[in-house]
Subunit: 435 residues, 2 copies
Amino acid sequence: MTEVITAVEAADIRFPTSRQLDGSDALNPEPDYSAAYVTIRTSTGQAGHGLAFTVGRGNEVEVAAVRALAPLVVGLPVDEVLGDLGGFSRRLVGDSQLRWLGPAKGAIHMAAAAIVNAVWDLYGRREGKPVWELLSDLTPEQLVDLVDFRYLEDALTRDEALDILRRAEPGRAERRQRLLTEGYPAYTTSPGWLGYTDEKLVRLAKQAVADGFTQIKLKVGADPADDLRRVALARQAVGPDIRIAVDANQAWGVRQAIDWMAPLAAHDVYWIEEPTSPDDILGHAAIRRAVAPVKVATGEHCHNQVMFKQLLQAQALDVLQLDASRTAGVTENVAILLLAAKFGVPVCPHAGGVGLCEMVQHLAMFDYVAVSGTTEDRVVEYVDHLHEHFTAPVRIREGRYLAPTAPGIGAELHPASAAEHRYPDGPVWREEHPA
Amino acid sequence: MTEVITAVEAADIRFPTSRQLDGSDALNPEPDYSAAYVTIRTSTGQAGHGLAFTVGRGNEVEVAAVRALAPLVVGLPVDEVLGDLGGFSRRLVGDSQLRWLGPAKGAIHMAAAAIVNAVWDLYGRREGKPVWELLSDLTPEQLVDLVDFRYLEDALTRDEALDILRRAEPGRAERRQRLLTEGYPAYTTSPGWLGYTDEKLVRLAKQAVADGFTQIKLKVGADPADDLRRVALARQAVGPDIRIAVDANQAWGVRQAIDWMAPLAAHDVYWIEEPTSPDDILGHAAIRRAVAPVKVATGEHCHNQVMFKQLLQAQALDVLQLDASRTAGVTENVAILLLAAKFGVPVCPHAGGVGLCEMVQHLAMFDYVAVSGTTEDRVVEYVDHLHEHFTAPVRIREGRYLAPTAPGIGAELHPASAAEHRYPDGPVWREEHPA
């Protein structure tokens, strides 16, 4: 009997994080971290889990988008899917009717991400490997077969991608071993949410250093005087050797970004993240030229590989922050890692939210083992929220992600957590909005 | 009693156009033209209608997105909304949780378009004016108040926008009169769908010329030999004086676009539309440099004003094809028209689909009366499908759109048409998929 995919389930899961102002920033004052949580089931009783992260309202739209894609997936033989994950992604993203909702952007693309990641999770479980290891064991040819080169070839050809991967091949075993012993560097955003008091900021910044982090990040962009005071306080708290990044979460126009960054730069800011619209490639390039040596970082809202291609071509960023579920999951992120390697730009994945740390660590670790071959100037974001809801939560020690060993991609929620936070009928929400 | 918005209704309406291969192109082989059809109702019994166009599957996601935005609208006083349509749009597009699904792109942005256009429809009905006339009667100050300049000011400031509008003010009355007598130039895509036979293409191309059109458009991008043969046949059919545009609907990579266009150019192609990914600003710029004097046209999938800003800044297009319901409706399109005027690029709106001709003509006519002040090298797309379902269908005479006189934006469906095509329970679909 051929094993086939029998179901693509989508659940609306929301965590009431707005009650604490965790995750507050210039454009997201009151997020309720949420997930369109996907479970793929097969005829032999196997399952894979993925999710698309959102910040509350609209999570039901994401769930509807997953359900719209599900008929393209249900009934497919598992071997056929896992044997051609590049083709599988292209069919999901390229469906001739559903692509109108994007193309390759927004709710429908994030839904594709959740499904693609669930399939990678299934693949990892079947092989008994965490996804970073699964990817790192693929041959260069298998990896480039994942990439949709249709719109990339003016920046990265198949042969160039193969070259990048082949150059990294000899060191794979050694780096894999080092990863298992040393982990992968992280930075923390926990001290810097916009809703926190100065006292809490200082306390958490000191705590971050004590915990072994060498980089912290602060949210900025609501008020210039507040920003300057908070950055100065943080610098005082952590001393000169810790990197301080700031994150405007798209609050500024191009000229405004340049103006607001000038006074902050005096406190040795390492990068400015999302200074303006995530769509503004030319704007990021202009800001980058103006704010150097402060680096420009962006990517968590960059919706697909064509946008990343241009950010790189336009020399618009110093730090590429890919996301686990904004672009179409692991498969498209392989292309993005290869683009970054071609242009020599370090990848520092976006995380936080719910389940993003769990998923994105696999991409950074695969990058280290099999693509860029280095962790220099590379850090994965870390936020210490909501990990307890996952069956294989991230493990952080001395400011580093320990390499996950559980098979899969890490997006599986504890069934009890999923049930409690189901929106709008789970106990957590019934209590919030009693009938 | 203050008049308030009491309901934002969204219906899933689909037309089974795939049965005839009308609308077939390189990436849309079998579209079922569809609409997330929005009706806004007020406490005094007034209504406004708008829609987001899709091509079939996924229309239910668009409906879900409209419903997600509805709570931001229901309960608002109508005077407050109509008195600050710029602020109204910014709140819809900028909702701190829902914007995560975009931001300003994909399903959630198209849903905002449907609502914004329904509100403009309501406004037009209240004033007893078609929307082109309503817009053309606003002062330059009222018009620039519609624009969200946050991410535009590096390309277009409020003062520059005011200057553009003030320069056009003296000629408004004369152009308005001319529009009412002469109409606005159109071109037709009806001969050129990819699914049509050569015989049908030639017959419809000749018919288009006989009907008074001076430009036709052919779909290309599936097979180079077919494209060359069809363009040659069309040129032979229409003679040397009719413009022939071609449309690849995103089929090509950058280099491929340049290569495939070379042989077609010999037949005096006027523009190449959507040669590559709609997100590829730098790619369009490279293609434009290579294929000149053939012009580059794009915009129907350009998701917001920040992308249009960059296409203009990068000199990536010769013809800007705004869409009525991809960007956030009339309000954002005012900004896009002003950007185009600043950069001196003609706007030739995308239409076809269902209801797009009806809506988009208002934008072109407003552009003529109050923004660019000219129809030179400007044409609105026309496709002769599905107009009979609207209460105020477009009127075409001698290859020109007659200026609509019915109040509103023209998106209202006949109630019987809406009921028949409701998906999945309307009679048209029950017949297609009998239970």
